[in-house]
Each structure stands twice: as structure tokens, then as C-alpha cells.
């Protein structure tokens, strides 16, 4: 699958995208469904991102959280600053600008025929959802599928509807935990690493994928290595500050690597060579 750039006059001009649906899974996150000209021609890979822009409020990189095979094109946005706060005040029918997709996206062909172990922390579930949905939509191409998800607290859980589907689905072995429990919470409490003892995998056949907050990577990698998954079978998506998405502005650089060009998805073998990565 090849990523296809939205045809544009120049690198920085966004196309207008109309918000057609908004859902709000948590207090701080909203999911926006977008429509824009030639959307049907937009090809992208899971874990690629677009630069979202609203005049006056700036631009920010946001991962596409829908699957390439979905009809709908969706972004899940956490409110942290200028652009993202403004996004949260928008209504259905409003327009935003997007350009992209950018980044390398997930090399889905390397997953084919393999067992999968996905680990998502917090907002990391948003980009990973694209891949999860893709896997579920093309389930026959993959082996066993284990999905681990950790949220800060029960009401910080994203995509709760889908989670309930995954919980009961025979196609995915889903486990989740929250850092801090609550009265009505019946599930696991503890860091995401506490889910690892619950799962059994075949390290020979398994590919591990990690997306989450910066602090999480070290610990989850350690668990995966403990499960004897080899370096080269671990992938992760990393976040950096980005101003252009075109490999120029320098903000997303980790050592010599531009995350917006060579990432955000990296193989753990490569990551180990990048001191500033995790």
C-alpha cells in the first residue's frame, strides 16, 4: 500500500475539511469525522498523521485514527494547547485545514502472517486504533492478536464502545488496566506493564507494537524483551514537536532522524541507535 499525498499547490497550503461528526469519549478527547474533496482517493497507512490547521491557532500534527479501509476519516484530538483547544470548541459543519498525510506510517506487510502484540498507553490508542481496525478488517492475514491498553483512570478510556466489542471479540485477545481505579471499576488497576504476566505469546512469531506517552516505552520494551520478542520485531510510534511536517523545521529531530520523515514509526533496532529516541 502506497501513501498518496493530497494534491496541493505547495507544501503549506491546507485543504478545507468539513467536520461531519463529533464524539467525545472523555473530558479531554474528542473524535472528529472529516470530509474533504477527493477523500476517497486519499491513501494512507496506519500511524500516519496530518497537519491540522486553524488560522490564528496554528498547526499541529494529529494521527489519523481511522483505518485506511474505513469509510470515515477520523482524528482523535486531546485538548492541550492552542490548536487543540480550538478544535474542541468547533461544531459539526465547521471547517478545519488539513495537509498530509505525513510520516512513514506502519509497514503493514511486515505484520502479515505474524502474531501481534499491541500495547497502547493513553492517547496512544488513537494512532494505534487505525492499525487495530485495519488488522480486524483484514483479520485473515494475521495470526494471534493480543491488544493491551492502559488508561490513566476509567473515565480517561478512549473508544469505550469499541473496547467492549474487542473485549468480547474472538478475533482479539484484549486486556486493559487503569493507573488509578474508581469505585465502579471492576477491571485491572496498575500500570500497563502489569498486564504482561497475563498474556502468553509465541516470541518466534510475534511482532510487538508500542504507542503511548514517552515515559512508557522503556518499561514496555523491557516487558516485551522479557517475553523474548526480539529487537527487530518490536515497533513503536514516537511523538515530537513539529512545525512543518516536511523534514525542514528541525523540531522533530532525534539525533539525526526527522520523525516526520523517517517516523513516527520506528523499529526498535533503529531506536536503540538513536540516543534521544526514548
Amino acid at each position: 500500500m502506497e501513501a498518496d499525498f493530497i494534491k496541493m499547490e505547495t507544501g503549506y497550503v491546507p485543504v478545507e475539511a468539513k467536520i461531519t461528526k463529533i464524539t467525545q469519549p472523555t473530558e479531554y478527547e474528542k473524535v472528529f469525522t472529516l470530509d474533504f474533496p477527493h477523500k476517497e482517493h486519499l491513501k494512507f497507512l496506519p500511524c500516519q498523521f496530518v497537519m491540522v490547521s486553524i488560522f490564528g491557532f496554528g498547526e499541529a500534527p494529529i494521527s489519523i485514527c481511522s483505518s485506511p479501509d474505513d469509510e470515515e476519516f477520523q482524528l482523535c484530538v486531546r485538548k492541550v494547547g492552542s490548536l487543540t483547544n480550538k478544535m474542541h470548541s468547533l461544531k459539526v459543519g465547521d471547517f478545519i485545514g488539513i495537509r498530509g498525510p505525513y510520516g512513514n506510517g506502519f509497514p503493514v506487510e511486515v505484520l502479515e502472517g505474524k502474531d501481534l502484540l499491541f500495547t497502547a498507553g493513553g492517547l496512544g490508542l488513537a494512532p494505534l486504533r487505525s492499525l487495530i481496525r485495519y488488522v480486524l478488517q483484514n483479520r485473515e492475514k494475521f495470526g494471534d492478536f493480543t491488544l493491551l491498553y492502559g488508561a490513566r483512570s476509567p473515565h480517561d478510556r478512549l473508544f469505550a464502545d469499541e473496547i467492549s466489542e474487542w473485549e468480547t471479540s474472538e478475533f482479539v485477545d484484549f486486556h486493559e488496566t487503569v493507573d488509578i481505579g474508581e469505585e465502579n471499576w471492576m477491571g485491572n488497576v496498575g500500570l500497563i506493564t502489569s498486564l504482561f504476566p497475563m498474556i502468553g505469546i509465541d516470541p518466534e512469531k510475534t511482532i510487538g507494537v508500542i504507542v503511548g506517552p514517552p515515559i512508557m516505552y522503556q518499561f514496555v520494551v523491557r516487558e516485551m524483551l522479557k517475553k523474548e520478542i526480539t529487537d527487530k520485531n518490536i515497533f513503536m510510534s514516537l511523538e515530537r514537536r513539529m512545525r512543518c511536517g516536511l523534514g525542514k523545521c528541525g523540531h522533530c529531530q532525534m539525533n539525526g532522524v526527522y520523525v516526520c520523515q523517517e517516523g513516527p514509526v520506528f523499529n526498535y533496532v533503529d531506536v536503540q541507535a538513536i540516543q534521544e529516541a526514548i
Binding site: 514517552p214 523545521c249 529531530q253
Partner: protein
């Protein structure tokens, strides 16, 4: 390639006629230093300058550059500037820098804003008879001479200049102003011999500053990643960003929106940024990936001497010495490099 012969007293006339046809940028006096900027009169242009505070390449990558315009009707358009410019009197190190920036901005996805400004511009180089300061590294780096990256090159020949014409743009200019060049017919001597004589004189006055060969630098540098050196540099550094702003090969930028007073329209522009700023690598979640000054300093030097050589095959420093002069805390690449060399075993 054609070589002309231009008496020095004709230079002013030449500049005047170029000024009639083109926007000319060059060095002009600014207090006891020189700035590179737009030239309005031939008398302003100085060819005998040492170095300019800001480098010539920033003509193509200006600060606060408008990149998009937002119209009140919601329409967004890209803004480009392409007027034909003549950069008159660019030193070899800065020519190397322009070549490097050309490469950076034309690497896909290419940057039209830079390329449009750069397109059609004519670069007139001028060789350096003497080093411009004791803070430069151009001799070690070999950037005190340039073989490409210019359309015309002026070689000092005492009472006159030899003018080397290498590109079709250069030819275009030379033939357009052939009146001046034709004052004297083509140079009849052996240009190769002239060149090697010239460089020999340079060998005499230019000084090697590094204890080892520049080609050994990337590897030595890589070895220094965990060195105590960076903490020492970090403790001195004021994170003021001067080194980045004056550097001809620093191209990091920030993007910001400016709203018009009517609150309806406005524009998006990009500003020079500095990787020494505290928040340069700070992300939305609050994480700062280079929170220590030592890390930021290391990143600046590594980007130039490790990452670019590794990714692009060239060094990101042309040895112009501007950063060394600009740093009020006295941090100098010469010291850093020599320290790195002496540390490595």
C-alpha cells in the same frame, strides 16, 4: 568557462549598471562591521569586507517570511516571492553554505518558498585573499575556496580582477554587461596557473586551526556523545540562540499566525528558530526532549558534524566562524573540535 579581465576602477561602473537592471545584495558597512543587505548605490557595495554579521544565504530564507495568506472569505493562498536578485561579492564559505541550503530545501518534499526566492538569482563570488578573522575554520574545512555554487567568481589580481564565468546565468550576465568586460578582452594568461598561484598565496596566510584532519571529525565527534565536554559547554552557554541565528547553515524555523487588526484575515509566517532555546524540543504533553543546555549544545554541533555528514554526505558547518564571534560566553567550535580530538584515543 570564460575568464575576463576587469580593472578594479571599473567595478563601480559595473555595479551601477547591474543596479539598473537587478536587485543587488551585497556587503555594506555597518558600524565597524559589515552587513549583507540590499544595495541601493554602487558606493555602498563593499568587496573588501571581512565577513557579514548575517550570511548572504538568508536572502533566500528571510526571517518572518510570509508563507500563507488567509483571506477574510476563508480562502488560503500560498505566498511566494521571486524577483531576480544578484548577490554581489559572496565569499567561498558562504557559497558553500548556499549550495548546502539549496540541497536541503530542494530535497523532497521541496520547499517552494526558498526555491522561488533562489530561482534565477545570480551569485557573484569573490575569493578571499586573507582570512577574515582568527575564529574561522574554513582552511581546515576546505571551504576557503569554491569550485561551484557561483555564476561568476572574482579573483583578485592586484590592480584588477579576473572574472571567472562558469554558468549560463553567469554568461548571461557577462554578455549583458559585456561593455565592461570588453574593456579588456578575455584573459590571455594561463588561468590554471593563476589559480594555483593564488591558492599558494592563500596557503601562506590561512591557518590550520584543528589538531587533526577534518575528515576524522565525524567519528571523533560520535565518540564524544557522553563526554564531560558537553556539560562544560552547557554550563557556559546562555542559551541565547545567537550562534544559530548568524549561522549560514542553520535553517530551523518556527511557524506562527498573525491576525489582522480587523480580526478576519491574516497570514502565517515562519521565523528563524534556535535549537538552543529551552522549548525547542518541547511537546504538547509537556515533555522536553532536550531540557538541558548541554544536550542542546551537543545537538547543535552534532547536527552539523555528525548527522548531516551521515545523512547527506556533507558537513553542516562551512567554517565561517560567525557563531564563534557571536558567542559572548566564548564558546568556540574550534575549541570544541580540538577537545573532541584530544579526548578520542
Amino acid at each position: 568557462m570564460k575568464i575576463y579581465f576587469l580593472p578594479k576602477d571599473k567595478v563601480k561602473l559595473l555595479v551601477e549598471s547591474v543596479l539598473d537592471e537587478f536587485q543587488v545584495f551585497g556587503a555594506k558597512a555597518k558600524e565597524m562591521k559589515f552587513e549583507f543587505g540590499k544595495i541601493d548605490t554602487a558606493a555602498e557595495l563593499r568587496l573588501d569586507y571581512n565577513t557579514t554579521i548575517l550570511p548572504p544565504v538568508k536572502t533566500f530564507f528571510p526571517n518572518d517570511e510570509k508563507i500563507l495568506e488567509f483571506k477574510p472569505n476563508g480562502q488560503t493562498t500560498s505566498v511566494h516571492e521571486n524577483s531576480k536578485k544578484v548577490l554581489f561579492g559572496v565569499h567561498p564559505c558562504d557559497i558553500h553554505a548556499i549550495e548546502m541550503m539549496d540541497n536541503i530545501f530542494s530535497t523532497p518534499p521541496e520547499d517552494k518558498h526558498y526555491l522561488e526566492r533562489r530561482k534565477d538569482s545570480i551569485i557573484i563570488g569573490i575569493n578571499c585573499n586573507t582570512p577574515c578573522s582568527d575564529k574561522i575554520l574554513c582552511y581546515d574545512k576546505g571551504t576557503y575556496k569554491a569550485d561551484s555554487g557561483f555564476d561568476l567568481m572574482f579573483w583578485d589580481n592586484g590592480e584588477s580582477y579576473l572574472v571567472e564565468v562558469v554558468t549560463s546565468l553567469g554568461n548571461f550576465l557577462a554578455s549583458k554587461f559585456s561593455y565592461f568586460f570588453n574593456f579588456f578582452t578575455e584573459y590571455s594568461g594561463d588561468f590554471h596557473e593563476f589559480k594555483s598561484e593564488y591558492h599558494k598565496r592563500q596557503d601562506f596566510v590561512f591557518e590550520k586551526k584543528l589538531t587533526r584532519k577534518i575528515s576524522e571529525l565525524p567519528e571523533a565527534m560520535r565518540q564524544s556523545y557522553e563526554s564531560e565536554l558537553w556539560h562544560e559547554v552547557g554550563a557556559k552557554c546562555l542559551s541565547c540562540g545567537s550562534c544559530n541565528i548568524v549561522c549560514p547553515t542553520c535553517y530551523c524555523f518556527d511557524v506562527k499566525d498573525v491576525v489582522d487588526i480587523d480580526l478576519a484575515g491574516g497570514h502565517r509566517c515562519r521565523n528563524w528558530d534556535s535549537c538552543q532555546n529551552l522549548d525547542f524540543a518541547c511537546v504538547g504533553s509537556g515533555e522536553n526532549f532536550r531540557e538541558k543546555s548541554s544536550q542542546r549544545n551537543r545537538h547543535r554541533v552534532f547536527k552539523k558534524e555528525v548527522y548531516l555528514p551521515q545523512n547527506k554526505g556533507y558537513s553542516g558547518c562551512v567554517g565561517c566562524g560567525r557563531c564563534n564571534t557571536a558567542c559572548i560566553a566564548g564558546i568556540s567550535l574550534i575549541d570544541i573540535y580540538n577537545n573532541v580530538f584530544s579526548e578520542e584515543v
